[in-house]
């Protein structure tokens, strides 16, 4: 059985101008693998991640036949039970550590808090575990970092702290929502490798949300391509360059390539039928 099975997921936002449908009936599953979700801004990829954690706040509406975590439909859970799922079983790393860490709390307190929420242990034990976790994300001076405030950290450090914080309760699934988009190119790879190692070691499932096709094709096992709230294509990551859907092809062709230099890059031309075509199933 797969770790996570999402069936017919919809995310809607009622506005004065009518209902905006951010995600329109997508289905996919996640095993102990690295699943990439790519798409442009507004394609619904972030909303998908947040809907799985039931983090869409009213007036937003999440509907699905099921969002099953090891057979348990998350939509049936009470808010209290859902809190036991968040962090402990499914976790999420967000885009920019500058905003996703609390600016007035020490880094150590924030990490310990994540551990203490799901483990009935004392502060000493939590502190010890936090230091180990910081070491696991290759932070050289964990004692100092524990006492530091987020604004004293660089972006790469901040994102590693975020990863440490989100993995410390040992979840089964990590949703990484554009985890490297706010980082310098030079540290992107480093942060990705750390995340990748930890996910592999622990046998976790990873949902990697990104708009960077090349990154996803290198880093993931399987890729869902989203367009206008639907999945338009599913393929193995190493075969992404053989993708057939015109949208995927268009995206690929709009990227410059070192091995095939071109005088002029293609501009993506959109076909209105893409957004009307039914969603492709994303089950493995």
């Amino acid at each position: 059985m797969s770790l996570l099975d999402v069936e017919n997921l919809w995310v809607k936002f009622p506005t004065r101008q009518g209902v905006v449908e951010a995600v329109r009936g997508i289905s996919f599953s996640l095993g102990r693998e690295r699943l990439g979700i790519v798409g442009e801004s507004g394609s619904g990829k972030s909303m998908t991640g947040r809907a799985i954690l039931r983090l869409i706040r009213p007036p937003g509406i999440v509907e699905a036949d099921q969002i099953a975590l090891e057979g348990q439909n998350l939509l049936d859970l009470t808010e209290k039970d859902m809190r036991a799922v968040r962090g402990e079983r499914i976790s999420m790393v967000m885009q920019d550590p500058k905003f996703s860490l609390n600016p007035v709390m020490r880094v150590g307190d924030q990490i310990m808090e994540a551990y203490l929420l799901h483990n009935k242990v004392g502060k000493v034990e939590a502190r010890k575990r936090s230091l180990e976790m910081l070491q696991a994300v290759s932070i050289r001076d964990p004692e100092r970092v524990m006492r530091a405030y987020p604004h004293e950290m660089s972006g790469g450090m901040g994102q590693r702290i975020m990863i440490a914080m989100m993995l410390i309760p040992n979840p089964q699934i990590l949703i990484a929502d554009e985890p490297t988009s706010a980082l310098d190119v030079s540290v992107q790879r480093q942060v990705l490798n750390i995340m990748d190692d930890l996910v592999k070691q622990r046998g976790m499932g990873l949902i990697f949300i990104s708009h960077d096709l090349n990154l996803v094709s290198e880093f993931c096992d399987r890729v869902l391509i989203m367009y206008a709230g639907r999945i338009v294509e599913v393929c193995d990551a190493d075969k992404l360059h053989q993708a057939t859907h015109p949208y995927t092809r268009g995206l690929l062709n709009s990227l410059p390539r070192l091995d095939q230099p071109r005088a002029k890059l293609e501009v993506l031309s959109r076909d209105p039928t893409w957004s009307e075509a039914p969603s492709v199933g994303g089950r493995a």
């Binding site: 809190r83 999420m92 967000m94 996703s100 860490l101 007035v104 929420l117």
Partner: protein, 352 residues
């Protein structure tokens, strides 16, 4: 060895320096502001078309008496010298004599200020204890009935004249229902029972263990304090609401939720921590406002505070009393600003 000792020393000095520098800068700016304040009050005292000599000697005094007092007041000296004298006196707590009752102004202020302090403190407490939670709840449940109520409460607080509310309060709670004491700080029967220590009757009576006096004083202060508290509540709850709204949409709130925290923990443990700094400024400002003495409230409730003192002095051209009162009010403003600056440093790690 010597080198490491040296670096350690340097490190200690480096960690101390910014803190010390901060305090020195704060003190420097406070003294400059104080000096400016004194200069302005001094100038006001000189340019007012009130002859201080005439106010003392009366209209029918002879020219020699007039000249003698003129000299006695130091008015024949150059302005700069006069200012230095004034500065010297004020720094020694001497604001001159009240022209109205021929007592030192400083003694008058010592008598009236505690009354205002007591009222303003209780009012601010009410405003903070009710206003902050109301603002937080209104932000978290945006658009709910409680938010609407908070909005109406604040709007009424902003727009209703205090003298009308005060009179209505007295009419209903004192005149008709008899739940609270009337104007003044104490019923006549309870006056002069407890010795004056702080000048705040609630505290003095509690120290003396005179609970009858305490209860009576409380019944007198509660209505004006609630009234002032209501006005500061209106302001504090609105500001709290908008600060919280800003924080609740921040990304670190999502992080806290992803960790599996309850909404209560998210709101008070994360979002509220981030508005403390802004809230301190708002509360300090509203406290300073009340400490200035709410003239209308003090007059309606016959409260012998600094607001009504300054007003009376102004209406009877008692310049020494007016200036003395103004300096005290200015000093309070400056001190509260300094205090909120210091708390800023404590609560916001980024300000270090």
């Amino acid at each position: 060895m010597a080198l490491s000792e040296n670096t350690r020393e340097r490190r200690v000095r480096a960690s101390l320096a910014p803190w010390l520098k901060g305090v020195l800068v704060a003190l420097g700016s406070v003294s400059i502001t104080m000096l400016g304040l004194l200069l302005i009050t001094f100038i006001i005292g000189r340019v007012m078309p009130i002859d201080p000599v005439l106010a003392i000697v009366g209209e029918r005094a002879s020219q020699t008496t007039y000249d003698a007092v003129y000299e006695q007041l130091g008015l024949d000296k150059p302005l700069l010298v006069q200012f230095l004298y004034y500065l010297w006196d004020v720094l020694h707590g001497d604001f001159g004599m009240s022209l109205l009752n021929a007592r030192p102004v400083s003694e008058d202020i010592k008598r009236v200020f505690p009354a205002t302090l007591e009222l303003a403190t209780l009012g601010t407490l009410i405003g903070v204890l009710l206003g902050v939670p109301l603002g937080v709840i209104a932000a978290v449940r945006r658009g709910s009935w409680i938010d609407q109520i908070a909005r109406v409460v604040a709007l009424v607080g902003y727009s209703m004249p205090i003298f009308w509310l005060g009179l209505m309060g007295l009419l209903i709670f004192y005149g008709v229902l008899g739940w609270v004491g009337g104007p003044g700080r104490l019923d006549i029967f309870y006056q002069d029972i407890v010795p004056t220590r702080t000048g705040m009757i609630l505290i003095d009576s509690a120290i003396a263990g005179e609970w009858g006096v305490f209860r009576n004083a409380f019944s007198h202060i509660i209505l004006p304090a609630t009234l002032l508290g209501y006005y500061s509540l209106a302001y504090i709850s609105r500001m709290t609401r908008s600060f919280m709204l800003e924080q609740m949409s921040a990304e670190y709130i999502t992080t806290a939720r992803v960790k599996g925290m309850s909404e209560r923990q998210v709101i008070w443990g994360h979002a509220f921590r981030n508005i403390r700094v802004q809230l301190i400024t708002v509360i300090a400002l509203s406290y300073a406002n009340l400490l200035e003495g709410s003239v209308l409230t003090e007059i309606i409730f016959s409260w012998p505070g600094i607001g009504s003192y300054i007003t009376t002095a102004l209406l009877s051209a008692d310049m020494n009393a007016v200036l003395g009162g103004t300096v005290v009010v200015g000093l309070i403003f400056i001190c509260l600003n300094l205090f909120s600056d210091l708390l800023y440093r404590v609560f916001d790690p980024r300000s270090k």
